[in-house]
Symmetry: D2
Amino acid sequence: MTSLFQRLKTDCADEWCSYTHHAFVRGMGDGSLPEAAFRDYLVQDYLFLIQFARAYALATYKARSLSEMRAGLDGLKAILDVEMDLHVRLCAKWGLSTVDLETTPEKPQTIAYTRFVLDAGQAGDLLDLYAALAPCMIGYGEIGKALQKHATPDNPYAEWIAEYASDGYQEIMAASIANLDALAVDMLTENRYPRLKHLFSQATLLEADFWQMGLDAEQDEK
Amino acid sequence: MTSLFQRLKTDCADEWCSYTHHAFVRGMGDGSLPEAAFRDYLVQDYLFLIQFARAYALATYKARSLSEMRAGLDGLKAILDVEMDLHVRLCAKWGLSTVDLETTPEKPQTIAYTRFVLDAGQAGDLLDLYAALAPCMIGYGEIGKALQKHATPDNPYAEWIAEYASDGYQEIMAASIANLDALAVDMLTENRYPRLKHLFSQATLLEADFWQMGLDAEQDEK
Amino acid sequence: MTSLFQRLKTDCADEWCSYTHHAFVRGMGDGSLPEAAFRDYLVQDYLFLIQFARAYALATYKARSLSEMRAGLDGLKAILDVEMDLHVRLCAKWGLSTVDLETTPEKPQTIAYTRFVLDAGQAGDLLDLYAALAPCMIGYGEIGKALQKHATPDNPYAEWIAEYASDGYQEIMAASIANLDALAVDMLTENRYPRLKHLFSQATLLEADFWQMGLDAEQDEK
Amino acid sequence: MTSLFQRLKTDCADEWCSYTHHAFVRGMGDGSLPEAAFRDYLVQDYLFLIQFARAYALATYKARSLSEMRAGLDGLKAILDVEMDLHVRLCAKWGLSTVDLETTPEKPQTIAYTRFVLDAGQAGDLLDLYAALAPCMIGYGEIGKALQKHATPDNPYAEWIAEYASDGYQEIMAASIANLDALAVDMLTENRYPRLKHLFSQATLLEADFWQMGLDAEQDEK
């Protein structure tokens, strides 16, 4: 049986490509991305993580079994106990202090994607919630892996790339795919698929907008 | 294809019977139900309706299309604009004032069923919510119809019976069944069915407890 | 005692001005707004209304009393039973069919504002939800009234202006202000005010972005 | 300034007493509680904990700051990573297997209290949610401490008593009181207090019903 994630990716190939091969991503890959764009992205990504932690809390609340609760809790811990600290350290290397992170307002693109996911999760069920989370969780692993193949050691974004290409993150990515596929086996019907595809497509486009936000910020500064 | 409601009713035949043929129901049918039990039930049913209106508001929020929103709104209007008034008038005939209705606390059985439905709806999707609402919406129509066959004109509960046996309510019941079946065509998988059956079974038992609450109240008064 | 709405508007004067005096608004006022910008806005505003109806359904679910439930239901009916039809008719005059309305995807700005409101409402209480809804409900009345003062009869946007300057809408606006103030009397503390101001400020900026979306769409078409 | 918890406890003294001095509690204290009652309670308390973990997940989702999110996550971890295991071990000593725990249906009293808390939390804000959780979190610590004073070493319920009288749990209790008081400083108004008191009173009575459930189960077995 086809994996739900593979099916979604195939059926939303254009959106997926516009996200995973976005100019921002290519700029990280060849090191040409303006640093101002990356800094803007880093701060917004910190604010993004806070909302994503809320999404995993919601997944834990909506779980239908202890094992689903523990899966949600694992995601929540991964963000609040590990990723936030990694992020703060990476930001520090780029000259961004905790105060910068905590006092910068969320940009509309950050709001759009995170609140879309949270609302999709509240309105629907666990499958809807994880489908809306998938572009982020899975896409970052795919991007990290792809960029690492050609990244040179002096690439200023090498640490970001290494993080998402790491075995640790690749395992998280594999678990996300497996989780989505398992929920699909349980709960997906052909009649439901078009709505799920729409959710995934929308979330993927909002991720592409999130990259674009970084590029636009750098343009605005000029 | 089998109707989801018929399937649920068949698979939960014992629970369904304990609810629709409860001693309280039989007592309404032959007029032997102590009036104190009925009065206690009437007040709690008013408090129940308020929470059921909240459940239809939740269904409207969780709707995935304009037509589903309008279906939720119809349910909400039916309760807040029509049924509440009918209920207040019926209560008045039984000597229960609006003040009685508004100042009586909810009993545990009222809380158990209503909050179970609301939580099932928030945690799951529209199909979960309507499955948890079904025993009430559909069961009352079935009970009204069954009691009317043998009800004598001097039955003190004739007005209650007539209300739920009425063409108006029978149409609401038919629409509830059709709505549940339509959602099932869209979203039900065999893997999901056992959980849905559990929801329905639990909700049905909590409805039976709701009848029992009336009988117990009458015992306590003695 | 100061009205909460007046206080929020004063404390967020810059954001409020950027929204209520946006170039899009000024362009409607003097008739100079490109028609393509208005058409783009009309379609997105239809999609926006659907999500706003969901927000009123959520308010009804979150109500703490029957009168609060009826207030939420009134808002929900106003949108689903009246405004949607008005909107479809206005769209038809601008050459936009129901099919156009139903098949156009939501733009990021539409998603950002509507999902922000819905999430604020789910995460917080009724006061949070209505504070996030306020810029839309109240701002449109203020804009309609202000534009009407100088609008000439041949203004192509006269019908839109008349709608929101109408006695009917002005009453809805007054009721929204009164509702917000009443909730504040009940539930607002000074410690809580900064968060509420942040919510209102954010929602107001997202409304300004919504106007900008119309202007950008017209630029893109060129 | 008075602690919110102390105020609630004083204003709901009868309800609080009916819960913390319930016959079930007294029976644990002097060792006279029938073992069958305790076993029934243990199984339902396991099912109760699952729903309480969902309530802490909800609190994490509804948090308004990172520190509130971490507080919610701490509660969630305490239940899923620690208490559940303790509970399973205690149950094993009483001859209850994991299969017993996982296959026993929730009783109406378990449903009533847990779903009441979850719905209060979804409908209201963080203060409402924690007020509804307080009788459980704080009451158990108070009961444990009180019973320990007079418990003899051969008391069959000594392990349960020691658990809730332990320094570890007493710290959790103190943190719950402090958390509730801090939220009150931020968000409590006198106009809001009566509703909060009602929530607390209702939750306390549902806790008393939960003890009664154990006693009733033992009666039914006879």
